[in-house]
Amino acid sequence: MTMTNESVKQALRDLFPDPVPVVDEPASEDAEEKEETRTNGVLERDHAAYGYDIDVQLDPGELLAAVMIVDKAGFFLESITGVDWIKNDQLEAVYDFSRYDFDTCRIVIRTRTPRSTPKIPTISKVYPGAGWHERETHDFFGIKFDGHPHLVPLLLPEDADFHPLLKDFKP
């Protein structure tokens, strides 16, 4: 990992007041429990096994700070999506960032929000391209992106009031 990416990682770590010890690469078996109860923090992942390098989980409140760090380091926004963890009664928003140069480094930022009141601040002020991705995530999961200028259905019909990728969605 090059200098830039090290500094990004350090900056992201500094976001967490109580630095959590870096968890070792979780084995695939006991990852099951860990995934459910994972604490916020920065994880380093094996690119060959997972396809990304840095895995950050944080509270929605810290999202903007983290995204600004990533933006300052010159990352581009790959995509935004959601995952419905219905067993934990949580919705997860996943932000993918990557670099244009040869210091290949993919950063994944995750944040979780309760299923009943899914609310996450928008990052479209930092990355205007997030506008569409957030609208899409709102379409599919119903996550409200606070401060989004135009949060209307993009891929679903204008009058859609359903969120098809929720695990309890019945067509």
Binding site: S28, E29, A31, E32, E35, A48, A49, Y50, G51, Y52, D55, G74, F75, F76, L77, E78, S79, T81, V83, D84, V94, D96, S98, R99, Y100, D101, F102, T104, R106, V108, Y127, P128, G129, G131, W132, F140, P153, L154, L155, L156, P157, P164, L165
Partner: protein, 372 residues
């Protein structure tokens, strides 16, 4: 609805470009706020051909999703299926025989040329020249014939399997592909003379439709769009997957940021793809095309996996969240044109409609791939 339109000076009007419009090449709609021929504001409306492939990916077993990926992008289908099999192989830890990877690379590059050829024709047609499309289709037919003889279909291929390929290539494929390379080089020269050098064509693209590098980064544009803005980014080079690290090829980069730069990137990419095919055919090893040990039922261990590949349109990514069952828990498709198109709204402000539509053509849109 009575009487003709009355437009006061300085008043803007709304123009619906699409969903049925010749320039959008599909069911894309752009709501344009127009001041005469100038665009004041544009808003892209998507979803006319949305099919929810991501939900299908969750409902079906892993092998059943295979045909879906080729329906994303009907012009460069193999690139997308390549990404799909790669992410499942990464997740489930399946080893791929070398021969299979080489054949994958060769066929993906052939498909990339076919896709770029069709884009070339359609782009010149956007500018009003119809004949290059026919020439491009003629060459593309040649590729489709080669691919049809191997894969069994012409457009929506379902050729790659988890761990390898559906069936092996034969000598006919190799000889036909070898014959294709010099022919394509000759044709590229012809296109250069017929289109690239043409004064009318250059006047319409040179310095028009500027998409600067910073805008690319903010919107996540990849592929020829970002390479036309001077960004040296190609997943095949930056994050080598499959056997691309074995090949010697260049990433064409132009710094002009205009429509002509994006055009040139794609035309140069065809040449680079030819080089990859050439090397691939030379290096093609013997051996099996499917691994000896392959799990009967594919059940990737629990986890979150990501794989990016360079398709004809840019960086295509798949995020697979597996819960260890035979279906995916989450199957996110990051389509390149989605990000490339999202910057159109901002980039086209203040442009003439005909320049804006030329710029839209230079983004190489495939609507089913945006809408998924």
């Amino acid at each position: 609805m009575s009487g003709p339109i009355h437009i006061q000076p300085g008043e803007t009007f709304t123009l619906n470009v699409g969903p049925q419009h010749p320039a959008t090449h599909g069911v894309l709609r752009v709501k344009m706020e127009m001041d005469g021929e100038y665009i004041v504001k544009a808003e892209t409306v998507l979803g006319y051909i949305h099919r929810m492939h991501e939900l299908m990916g969750e409902n079906r077993t892993y092998p059943q999703v295979l045909p879906n990926l080729s329906r994303l992008d009907y012009l460069g289908a193999l690139g997308y299926t390549h990404g799909h099999v790669l992410v499942i192989e990464r997740a489930a830890g399946i080893e791929v025989p070398e021969r299979a990877e080489y054949i994958r690379a060769i066929t993906v590059e052939l498909n990339r040329i076919a896709s770029h050829l069709f884009w070339f024709g359609a782009f010149v047609m956007d500018l009003g020249g119809f004949t290059p499309l026919m020439y491009a289709i003629e060459d593309r037919e040649y590729i489709l014939d080669i691919l049809e003889a191997v894969t069994g279909s012409r457009l929506t291929y379902c050729y790659y399997r988890f761990g390898g390929l559906y069936n092996d290539v034969d000598d006919d494929f190799i000889s036909a592909t070898r014959a294709f390379i010099p022919r394509m080089r000759k044709q590229l020269k012809k296109y250069d003379a017929l289109v690239t050098g043409n004064i009318i064509f250059r006047k319409r693209l040179d310095g028009i439709g500027i998409i600067p590098a910073e805008m690319c980064r903010k919107y996540g544009a990849t592929g020829p769009v970002s390479r036309g803005a001077g960004i040296d980014f190609d997943v095949r080079k930056n994050e080598p997957y499959s056997v691309y690290s074995e090949f010697d090829f260049d990433t064409p980069v132009y710094h002009e940021c205009d429509s002509l730069a994006r055009y040139k990137v794609r035309m140069d990419e065809m040449e680079q793809s030819l080089r990859i095919i050439e090397q691939g055919l030379d290096k093609l090893p013997d051996g099996p095309i499917m691994p000896k040990k392959k799990p009967k039922l594919i059940k990737p261990p629990k986890g979150d996996y990501y794989q990016a590949v360079e398709t004809a349109r840019g960086s295509f990514g798949i995020r697979l969240v597996s819960d260890g069952s035979k279906n995916a828990y989450r199957f996110k498709l990051r389509s390149p044109t989605y990000s490339n198109m999202s910057l159109f709204d901002e980039a086209c402000e203040g442009m003439l409609i005909m320049d804006a539509l030329a710029m839209m053509g230079s983004l190489d849109l495939v609507i089913p791939e945006i809408d998924r």
